[in-house]
Structures are given as C-alpha cells and as structure tokens.
C-alpha cells in the first residue's frame, strides 16, 4: 500500500525525521490561510500516488498567500495520469544548498533491509543508478542485529557528508530506519533530503510503501487508503477474499490459485483471445465466494464469455458448482460460461452442472479453445 507524501511526512515526524512546516488542504482557501501562517512563500504539492508530479505541473511555488490560493485552485482541479487531485500539501519553502537521496528498502536477493544513499538527490534514484552508479552507496542491514552505529557512519562517509552534518544525519537515518521497521514498510524514502543554506537537514519529500501482508498490525492504516487508485471491482473483490485485477480483454476468468490463474490468462492469449481479468478465488473457495466472483466478473461490460478453471485440492469442485448454479440463477446472465473442473469432487461437480446452461471442458487447452471461439463470435 502506497502512502501519500503528506501521510509519509506525518509518520517521519513521529520518528524525529525533520520535515518542512506545512499542512495538507483540500480547498484553495485553506491553502491561502496556511500560506499566511507560514509567512507567505510556500510550495503547493498535489497529493496523488503517481510519480512525475512536478513535470505534470502538480507542484508550484507561490510567492504570497494570494498566489498560493490561485495555484491551489488550479492544482485541485487537475488530473495527473488519470488520478484526480483531491488534496494538496502546502509547505514552507526552504533555501537549498545540497540534495541527498536516502532510502531503506527490502533487498530480495540478500533477504535483508538495505540502506541506499546518494549525494545526487532530488532526481529519480533509478536514473542516478544508470547514469552514475558510483554515486550510489548501498549497505545491508542484518535483520537480527538491526542498524548499527558504525553502519550509519559508513553511509555518511559513503556519500561524502561533511562532519558538521553527521549528528543531524545520524538522527535522521536512525529515525527513518525505525519508521521503516515499525510501520512494516517495504520502502521508506527521502528524496531529496536537503541541506539548507542555514545548515539544517530536512526531508523535503517523503515516500512510504507499506507491506500489504503486515496491515493486520496497522489497523489505523486502513483509513489512509486512497481508493482512487483501486478500481471499485477490486475493492469489492477484497471483501470476499478474492484477488481481482481488471484487464482490457473480453474473456472473464475465474481460477483457483494465482499461478494457475496467470497460466489460464496466458493460454487464452496464445489462442488469440484476450483475458478480461485476473481472478484468483483462493484456496477452499465455497459457494458464496464463487457467486461473488461471478458477479464481479459480470460487472465488466466487456466480458463476452467466462472461463472457469478449477483444480480442486483444498477447493472442492462440487462446492464451486453449487456456487455457480446459485449465482447463475441469481444474476440470469446471457454471457456463456465455460467450466473446467478437475480434482477433488470433480465428478460430483460435473454432475451438478450437467443440467445447467454451461459448457464443460476436460482440459485447459479445450476450455481455452472454446472460450476464445465464443469470444470472437464463433459457434461451437
């Protein structure tokens, strides 16, 4: 789960990472008031969960409260990469001497946290990595020991930080690491961490991504979710423990297991069809889940045919068949349904479906073939 800049900054503040003075606003007049409180000159930053806000015109410097209001009005009316700007962050302007990059993320290869730092901050770190990799300093942290003092000093040395800033830097990196740990972040990033002309270190921007698997430890996070970035059908699917992602094809898919769901989409594509979605009904899916899944798939008007591929292990095929029958009776769709059941109680499942208006298939290849033909208007 990605957090907005203002949400990340609030968290940083709690962990003693200095941030600029400022507040979030959702109407332009509020921006004016905040600018007045901050002494006039402010930066107005759109709060959307995509990169490239600056380039899109979503970040503007205002010289006085009147201009702050103008820019706020403008930015609050914008859409950036398809996402509406609903909130803006109004921050004081600081005079920058130097920009640093500082981030902590999970290193999948070493299976431990890694601190990444660079004296070239303020631009996309992946760009720095490509153009001048020597400017990137990385340091792995033993997850059982945690971040050690000598490591913090190593990082300061690694980015040629002047001694006079070490004290502030150590406090910031320690705070960032605690924020990363306590919040179960998969990324905690300050870009840029600036050194101001009056020699203060401040996190000018902030980015955090929280591990979805750890949200049970952070129930308060659910309120911070930005539903704009999630499709309504995806949110609905989560309620039933389904994993659904809408795509732009016309063959709706319902499969148990993520890998098999992907493989089912692949084979549809190979036969010239286009999957309308990824949908994993999960292990042990019963009738309720199947019915919910069917409705979610049908909420996509592009769907011309539905392919259901179930390999019964924990999931019982007769349960799936029952769910399907009750859902079909309920929604009364004209969209043809192709079903392939194998594994636990597949016989019983197929018998249940014998009298229903569905097409059955024995193999995945056969099921995909039939679905593709139906989606392209072919007859069986």
């Amino acid at each position: 789960m990605k957090l907005h800049e203002y949400q990340s900054k609030k968290i940083f503040d709690r962990f003693d990472v200095p941030i600029p003075k400022g507040r979030v606003a959702n109407i332009a007049s509020e921006a004016k008031q905040i600018a007045e409180e901050l002494g006039g000159r402010v930066v107005i930053k759109s709060q959307v969960l995509v990169g490239g806000r600056g380039k899109a015109g979503g970040i503007k410097l205002a010289r006085d409260p009147k201009q702050a209001k103008e820019f706020a009005t403008e930015i609050l009316g914008m859409e950036i990469k398809g996402l509406p700007v609903r909130k803006i962050l109004v921050d004081e302007i600081v005079d920058i001497d130097q920009e640093i990059y500082l981030g902590i993320t999970n290193d999948r290869t070493c299976r431990q946290p890694v601190v990444i730092a660079s004296s070239s901050g303020g631009i996309d770190i992946e760009e720095v990595a490509q153009i001048s990799p020597e400017k990137i300093f990385k340091l792995s942290i033993d997850p059982l020991l945690g971040l050690q003092d000598f490591q913090v000093r190593d990082i300061a040395l690694g980015i040629d930080l002047k001694h006079e800033y070490w004290k502030q830097f150590i406090k910031i990196l320690r705070g960032l690491y605690r924020a990363y740990l306590d919040m179960d972040a998969t990324l905690a990033e300050i870009n840029p961490l600036v050194i101001t002309k009056d020699k203060r270190l401040i996190a000018l921007d902030a980015k955090m991504i929280i591990d979805d698997n750890a949200l049970f430890r952070h129930p308060e996070m659910m309120e911070l979710r930005d539903l704009d970035v999630e499709a309504p059908a995806e949110i609905e699917a989560q309620k039933y423990g389904l994993s659904y992602i809408k795509l732009d094809g016309d063959i709706g898919c319902m499969v148990n297991g993520a890998g098999l769901a992907m493989a089912t989409m692949d084979i549809i594509s190979q036969f010239g069809g286009k999957p309308a979605n990824f949908l994993d009904i999960g292990g042990g899916a019963g009738a309720t889940k199947v019915a919910a899944a069917l409705k979610i798939i049908l909420s996509d008007p592009n769907v011309k045919v539905i392919l259901i591929n179930i390999f019964g292990g924990i999931t019982r095929c007769d349960e799936v068949a029952k769910g399907l029958l009750s859902a079909l009776a309920d929604v009364k769709t004209k969209v043809p349904v192709v079903v392939r059941l194998v594994g636990t109680n597949a016989e019983e499942g197929r018998e249940l479906l014998a009298n229903a208006n569905v097409q059955t298939a024995n193999t995945l290849v056969e099921a995909a073939n039939i679905s593709v033909r139906l989606s392209t208007g072919g007859k069986l």
Partner: protein
C-alpha cells in the same frame, strides 16, 4: 530415493487443531505418513485422529517425545513467524510453512535465524512437498501424482497440481515435487533443489515451474548451464500479465520492466531448457 522427505520422515504438524491444519494433517495421515505429533500451544495433552496422534504445547517437547524431524506449519500469518523460529530452535531439520500472507519483515528475521540454526525451510505460501507413495508434507493432493523419475520444483500451488495431473495421465511419475512458494523471501530456492535433484539417483529429469517477478528463474538458468547434466523442462506463468500489478502472490509483480516472463523464458531457453507453452504441454515435453 527421493529428496528431503521419504517414508522414514517423522512429521510434526504445527497448528494441528486449527481448521486447515486439522483437515490437511488428516489427509497426510491417511496418505500413510508418519504424522507423529501435533503442536498447538494450550492444547498439550489432547489426542487427535481417533486417539492416534498426540498434541503437545511446544515443538521442543513434541520432538523430545516423538523424534520428529520434519515440521509442517498451518498456523495463521500473525503467528507463523514465531512458529518457524520455534521449530528451528527445537532443532527441526526441515520446516515446511504453508501459511500465506506473512509480513516480509518477519520473513527476513526468520530466514536469517533458520540459516544460523541449520534448519532448511520450504515456503512460506507454498503447497509443501510430496514424495509419492512415501510422504506427503503439506497440501498437494495425493491422488494426482504417482512415483516416478521426474523432480518437480514450483513457485505455484494449483498450477503445480495441473502439471502433476497432466504427467500422471501420460503415465509419468514424480520422484519428489516441491512447492517453494511465491513470496519474495522464502526458504529453499530453485538452485538448492536443482542441486539436490542432480545428486538424486532416482531423478532423471526435472520440471521447473516459474512465474513473473524477481530473478530467481534467471539465476536457476545460470546454475543449470554450469552444473546440471539432467534435462530440465520449464513453464513460466504470467506472459500476459501487465506490469506494476501484483498477481496474487506477493512475489508475482513486474517492477519497472524487470521480472517479466519473456526475460525468464529467454534466459532458460539460452541454456537449453525446453519451454512449455502451457502447463499441460510440460508432460508432453518430458521423456517417457
């Protein structure tokens, strides 16, 4: 012969009194396994499976009483990290964690500790492993595979069943099938298992089932080109997946253009691995 588990494995089930744990432990028991003990803190002293299998409060006590050397974990994600640490602390040699949805932070610590203790881990978020007719540790259905000479390694669950089943329909059996799980941080890797299968006299060929996300398949390709003499057939799921979207498994995400199915297929093909276009084709590509 087989790898990791066989008829002499003494299996312990952590979470044996929970819904899932109880159901699958019973399936394992019926398969003819040596399910020697269960562990559920607070339920020590009870018995399950018609009074045949004792339940203990801790792994340590269970191991002392029964000589268990393999543990399979079915406890919820909140407690799974602790369960793995407990098993390793008790000296269990092979830990198989079925649980899905474990936070990455927990897994980083667990993996490090297990490495220090010398315990092997399979999973988490995996279906476990099976040596047909000898030992079923986890949730892979017993009736979709039979003994044979093919070693199977997979990051997926039901996709693996699909492959095992297609193999069985063509009369091809399995030496051992291992589901290593789809999480970004897990235990034994493709490479660890390729090495074991290469050394296993009863395995003649290997099936590798991968998916989008990460670079483990590429690393496997590199290992195959250097060390493997046995033929490998592979399938990679997610060729039609869009980037930036997590496809169910926490590890299955294409990030900024890396971890695509294309890259993985190319890396494997370059080292002589045959690639199946769909899961059922794997069985056709294997030598009979």
């Amino acid at each position: 012969m087989s790898i990791l588990v066989n008829k002499n494995s003494r299996i312990l089930v952590q979470g044996i009194t929970g819904n899932e744990g109880n159901f699958h432990a019973w399936q394992m028991y019926q398969y003819g396994n040596n399910v020697v003990a269960g562990v559920t803190p607070g339920k020590g002293g009870e018995w399950v499976f018609e009074g045949k299998v004792p339940v203990f409060d801790s792994v340590k006590v269970a191991k002392e009483a029964t000589g268990a050397n393999v543990s399979v974990i079915f406890v919820p994600a909140h407690f799974a990290g602790d369960a793995m640490l407990e098993a390793a602390d008790a000296g269990i040699e092979l830990i198989v964690c079925i649980t899905e949805g474990i936070p990455v932070r927990d897994m980083m610590r667990v993996r490090k500790y297990l490495d220090q203790k010398g315990s092997k881990l399979i999973g988490p978020n995996c279906p476990g492993l099976i040596t047909p007719s000898e030992a079923k540790v986890g949730i892979i259905p017993g009736n979709i595979t039979m003994p044979g000479n093919v070693g199977v390694i997979s990051r997926s669950g039901t996709l693996t069943y699909e492959v095992l089943y297609a193999m069985m329909l063509l009369g091809i059996g399995t030496s051992t099938c291992v589901g290593i799980g789809g999480d970004p941080i897990s235990g034994l890797s493709y490479i660890d298992l390729l090495e074991m299968f290469e050394l296993d006299p009863l395995t003649d060929q290997i099936v590798l089932i991968g998916e989008i996300g990460g670079t483990d398949e590429q690393k496997a390709a590199d290992y195959i080109s250097r060390y493997m003499t046995k033929p490998v057939v592979a399938f990679i799921a997610g060729q039609s997946a869009p980037s930036g979207k997590r496809m169910g498994h926490a590890g299955a995400i294409i990030e900024s253009g890396s971890g695509t199915a294309e890259e993985k297929i190319k890396a494997l093909q370059e080292v002589g691995v045959q690639i199946a276009r769909h899961p059922e084709e794997i069985a056709i590509l294997l030598n009979r």
